[in-house]
Structures are given as structure tokens and as C-alpha cells.
Amino acid sequence: MADGVIKRHEKIGTNDVYLLDIDISANTEKFAAGQFVQLQVPDGEILLRRPLSIADAAGSNLILIYRVIGKGTKRLAKTSVGQKVSIMGPLGNGFDLACKKPLLVGGGLGIAPLLLLAKRFAGKADILMGCKNVEEMDWPLPLFKNIVKNTFITTDDGSMGMRGFVSEYLPEILTAESYDKIFVCGPEIMMRSSAEVAVRHGIICEVSLEKRMACGLGACLSCTIETKCGRKKVCKNGPVFESREVFF
């Protein structure tokens, strides 16, 4: 629980993608990539908190990157620098960094949490990112510029990088380089197909799931999923899972 103050808030992507920089007056050093926060949309109209991944963290600053989807994020986009915002978190379990040669795989807004992950890997990770088209690449490209080794790109329409989905390009990449773990975040279908490729290549794969959440604390059971090891709560036991546990 922290009362943060908005330090920066700007549209960074043509397609309604915003970056929110919040000073939470607490050290964020221990925040793990893949963890999330429950943010209260200011001004009282929105009842439930909204789960947003920690995109980046440094000092007492927390960076969230979000896309305007519905009522809550639309309202959030109207808040201004200087406003207070209540944050619960960090919540859940982040990615397990133990590996030698990591490949990050992100699709759409799922690219956001990979930012902190890339930083935690201190330059040794590669990234494969996929978006609909070149316009949607406007925000991730500059952000990842100096924090990853190699960048691979796909767009659905081929307007930048390879044409197609990341999972189609993934076999090629996994064959060319000897990654020992991949970290996937994006739409469920994209995570599923990427995980399949990873499994086929005998590479461990972690994915980050999204489910509607009320409490974010494991209490309300809004977010339970069926896993190979029984029922789990995305908010508490995830959002990051080993892919074979959840896609089976």
C-alpha cells in the first residue's frame, strides 16, 4: 500500500498507450519483473482497482505502461501530474531470472513488463517483439534500445520486421541461438503458441497470465485458473507461471 504521486504521465504510443511514472516514496529495488500492482483510478468514479504490470522501477519511482481499454483506463488517462494515486503492491510472483541465455518474447502491451525484466538481466537478454503494425512499435522500440542485446521484430502486416506472429518466427530464432529460457508476455493465444514452440525445443518457458481481479490478494477467487497442479490464483500464485503448469 502506498500513496504515490504522479511524476510523469504521457501518451507514448499512437494507439492510446500511456506511460505513468509514480513516486511511491518507497524503495522499489526488490520489485521483481513480472509482478504487478493494483492501482486505484483516482477521482472516485471507478470502484475496483486495476491490475497493471510493473514496467519499470528505479529508486522510489514506479513506471506503468497501459493501453486505454475501457472505463477505468480511459479515466486513468485523464489524471495529471501531481495527482495522488493509491497503489497496492508489488503483488504476485515475478519471473524467475535463473538462466544463462534468456530470450524475452512480448506481444502488444505484454511487452511492457519485459522492460524491467531486460534491465534485471543487465543487457544480456535478447527480445522478440510482435505488434500489429509498425505504428504499434513506436513505444517499445526506443524503450528497449540500450537494454537488450539483439532485437527481433514481427508485425502482423509485415510493415516492420518479419511478417506474421512471434510464434511463427520463434522456431527460427530458437534454432539459431542457444537460449536456455524464454519469458513470454502477451495475448493468451500468443503465449500458448510460443510456449508450445519452446516446449518442442526443450526450452523452459515462463508466461504471465491475465485474469480479471478484484482483490489481488488471493481472497476473492475472481482469478482462479485450472493448472496441472490444481487450482491456482493468478494474483497470488502468478501472474507468472511455468508454461507447462498452465497450458497443458
Binding site: 500500500m1 480479471r212 490478494l217 481472497a219
Partner: protein
Amino acid sequence: MSSVSLKTEFAGIKLNSPIMTASGTFGFGEEFEDFADFSTLGAIVVKGTTLEPRNGNRGIRIAETPAGMLNCIGLENPGVQFLVNEILPRIGKYNCPIIVNISGNTVEEYGELAKILDIDGVKAIELNVSCPNVKEGGIAFGVEPKSMAAVIKAAKKNTGKPVIIKLSPNVTDIAVMAKAAENAGADAVSLINTLIGMAIDINTCKPVLGNITGGLSGPAVKPVALRMVWQVRKAISLPIIGMGGIMNAQDAIEFFLAGADAVAIGTANFVEPDSTVKIYRDLKKYLEQKNLTDIRDLIGKLRT
């Protein structure tokens, strides 16, 4: 030191405060360890429990609505044996009265559950006859006085603990239900459970919730809940746990004035996980301002 006391008694149970948690919104208490102060909580009412473990409903389970939320969790729970063997021993350490909320498919199951839970570590049982999100059991028992009475009697026969019946707001006359509960031997009533509601996604033209309908809770229902507590207070003399959209001490005070002997905090826990702590603090402040020393001086004191 403040001389105001929030200590009270409810159906023979000594409480540190009249502030409880509403079943299904506070897990088993553990999830709120970082936020709650168990010494200021009257009781933890744990998630609805059934004889066998349940998986609950498929698909999307919550939706936000104006000043409210819909849920169709569908009584997902690990079953009463797991509760008794694993969870109750763990949460005993909070030294906070535990009330177990139970649901059965049949009248007999309520009896069986009551018997299994007639143990140390359980202070009372709350009969959920008003869950709108399950096909069997659930609400069917809660909208018809006779079957509700049967459930109460089955429970009473099998336990020495106080039996609290949780009333459904989805009825024509809540006072009739409350009277039936009193006559059937219930020790207390709690109200309200959720109102049945629905939301539709106009892009997909499908219901938002996996179960089509769900239970409405939160500030949106407060006026209805408050009215029902007031109606029930006039109709029966059993103690009442009032709930429905209580977000802060002001809301809680409205319920006390209307006649609730205790209140339960539900949806507010999702919005502010330390809601119960804040309500405890602000309730004390209010009593001080009003020069009252005992929470019981507030209960039912609505001037009409």
C-alpha cells in the same frame, strides 16, 4: 486514551468490535494479514464452505458496474474437511472469532456441515441460503420461508454454536423471511447477500459473466441493504449483522442507527484492504464526537 469502547456481544459471542468481514470477500483472513488488525475485528466470516470441494463457475467471474460489482464465483472452496484440518488450525492464531459460512445442496447437508463444524475454533456458523450463483442449494432455500426454516432447524439440531441465517435481498418481503427465521430458531440474521444482476458486452453481444447473472454488491446496493436492515429490525428481536456496500465508518453508522448490532465489510476490502481498520478508527472518533462511550448506544437509534 479514548474512553470509547467498541467491545460488544453478538449472539452470546464476545467481540472486540462490531466490525466483521463479509463471507467471500476476506478469504480466510490470512490474505489480509498485512492490512487488517485482527484485534480490532469482531469476527472473520470465512469464504462459503461446502461438504465437497467445489471449483466454482467457469469463465469471467467479476464485472464492475456503476458503484458496484457483480460476481459469480460460484462457491469455489476446498471443502469443509480441508477447512477443518488445514485452515482453521492456521488462522486460530489471530485470536479472532471465526464464523464459518456454509452452503448445502440439501437440507441434510446443512445439518451435516453444522455437525462437522461444531468444534473449537468455530464461534458460530452462518447459513448461506442466498447465494445467487449456484444452481442447487443456494438461493432456492433463501426465498421461501418454509425451506429456509428447514435449513435452520437442521443446523440447530446439529450444533451447539449460534446459528446465523444470511438473508437474500431477492425477495418481496424481507420481514417475512426474518420472522420465519426467528420462529425456526435462528440465533441471529445477517443481511444482505447480493442482489441478482447482469451485465452485457455490447461488442460481443454476450453476457459479461460466465454464469450470465451474478451477485451485485458494493455501494450501489447500500440504500437497499439499509432499508432491509431497518425493516428487519422492526420485525424481529434477533441480533442483526448488517452489510451491503459499507465502505467507511459513515456507512457503518447508518447501519447501526437502522438497527444492526454488527456490520460486515465486503466489497470494500477489495478497494481498500485496510477498510476494517479505518472503519474501526473512524467509528471511535464518531462516538467521541457524539459523546457516546459505548457502540450499543448507537444501535437502532434512528429517530423517525
